[in-house]
Symmetry: C2
Subunit: 266 residues, 2 copies
Amino acid sequence: MKLTPEQLKQFDEEGYLFFPNYFSPEETQILKSEIPGVFQQRREENVREKSGDVVRTAFAVHTYDPIFEALVHHPRFVEPAEQLLGDRTYIHQFKINGKAAFDGDVWQWHQDYGTWKADDDMPEARAMNLAVFVDDVNEFNGPLWFIPKSHKKGAIEAKHDLTTTSYPLWVIDNDTIAKLVKQGGIVSPKGGPGSAIFFHGTLVHGSPPNMSPWNRQIIYVTYNAVSNAIRRFKRPDYIAHRDFTPIDAWSDDAVLQAARRKSAAE
Amino acid sequence: MKLTPEQLKQFDEEGYLFFPNYFSPEETQILKSEIPGVFQQRREENVREKSGDVVRTAFAVHTYDPIFEALVHHPRFVEPAEQLLGDRTYIHQFKINGKAAFDGDVWQWHQDYGTWKADDDMPEARAMNLAVFVDDVNEFNGPLWFIPKSHKKGAIEAKHDLTTTSYPLWVIDNDTIAKLVKQGGIVSPKGGPGSAIFFHGTLVHGSPPNMSPWNRQIIYVTYNAVSNAIRRFKRPDYIAHRDFTPIDAWSDDAVLQAARRKSAAE
C-alpha cells in the first residue's frame, strides 16, 4: 500500500486523507466484534464518560489484544504512516473512542500535537493518526470535524481544559477557530464501517456529542517517527507509550490471521 | 398562501413541511438586523445559556417589537397555521432561539406538546410551530433534528429535565427515541436564511449544540387553535400567553411595511 503523489500532495495541502471502505467488511467486523469484550473490562486504560458508566476511550488495547496488535501492524496503516512521516514509526498512542449512542460527549476543538507537545515533550509534529471507522459515521452520531489547512499553522496556543469532559484536553480558543474556519471551512468525512482517515498531528479537529441512537466507534492509531520520540513521561505509559521500537508491517491479512488464531485457541 | 393537498398529506404523514427560501432575502434581512437590539436587552424574557452571558431564547418579542408583531401576522404563517390546525389561531408562544456560535447548547429530544400539556394544560395537540431560519442552517451550527412520523404517537411520556441546560424541558427517554428512530429515521432540514419549517406539536425533535463559528438563529411562532386554549397559568405569561384573541392575517408585505414605519419614525 503506497500513497500516490496526488494523495501526498492533498495531505500536505489539506492535512488529511479520507478512504471510504479502506478495510474489508470482514476485517471491520472482526474489529467491531472485539470491542464489547474490551469495553466491559474494568481497567485504568478504559476512561469513562462524565455522564455515567459508558466507555469514552479505551487506550492501549493493542498491548493486550492480538486482534488490535495486528491492526497496528497492518501494512495499510504502517506503510502510509512511514511515507507521510518520512521515517520508520512507533506507536505513540492507541485508542478506541466509543462515542456511544446518546452518551458520547463532545471532543472540543484541538490539535493532537498540542497535547503531545505540552504533556509529552514530543519534539516536532511528526506524529499523526490513522483511524478506522468501526461503525457507520453519519451527520447524527458525532462525526469528526476537521478544519482543512489548519495544520499549516504549526502548534497553536491552547488552554488545558479539565472540566468540559471526563478527559483533559488542550483546547483552542473560539477566536482562533473562527479565523481558521474562515480560511479552511469545516469538513466532516462520513462513511461506512471500514472507512479510514489519516490526519496531520496539527490539523485542528473536534466532534459534537452523539445524541443519536447509533454508536460511533472509531479506532485511532498514532504513529510517531522514531527520530521524534517523546522526552517527558508525565502521562501514564498506556496513554503516551515509551516503547520506541519501530513497528514492522505484517502481511495484508494480519487481522484475519489474528482472528483465525483466536478462534483456533478458543 | 394555501397549502396544497399534497403538502397537507405530507404534513399528516411525516409531521413537518420544509420550504427553502420561504421568505424573501429582504424580509429575512429585516428580521435578522432586528435581533441584536433584542438580545442586548436585560429583560426576564431573555433566557441566557448556562455557559455564560449569551442569549439562548428571547421570548415574546412580538409583544414589544413591531417587526416581529408583523411576522406573527404574516399571511404565510397565519394561513397555513389555520389550514393545518382547522381553526382560527392565537399565539401561544413566540421565541427566537439564538444557538450562538460556540455557545449554543443542545436541545434534548422532546415534543413541544409534552410541555404545553404538562405545564400549560393545553387540551389537545392542536398547536404547532411555524419557524423561519434567520441564518444559514448547516450540519455544523446545530440544525434541528426531527424524527419523521413520531407525531403519530400522540403525547409521549416525558421526564422534566431541570439540569442539562438553562431551560427546563420535558424530555423523552433514550429507549423510546431509539424505537422511534428505527421507524422514522432522523431528518435535518438545512437551508439558507428565509427557509421555513412547520412542524406538528407532537413531532419529536431536538438539536445538537453549536460548536461552529456560525450563529444559528431561528424564530419560532407557536400557533394554537382558539378552541384549544390553555387552562393552567403556571408558567409566566411571556412563555405561555393568555391572550387568546384570534390572529388576523395582514398583507403579504407586512414585515416590509413595519420596517418602513420603523425607519420613518427614527
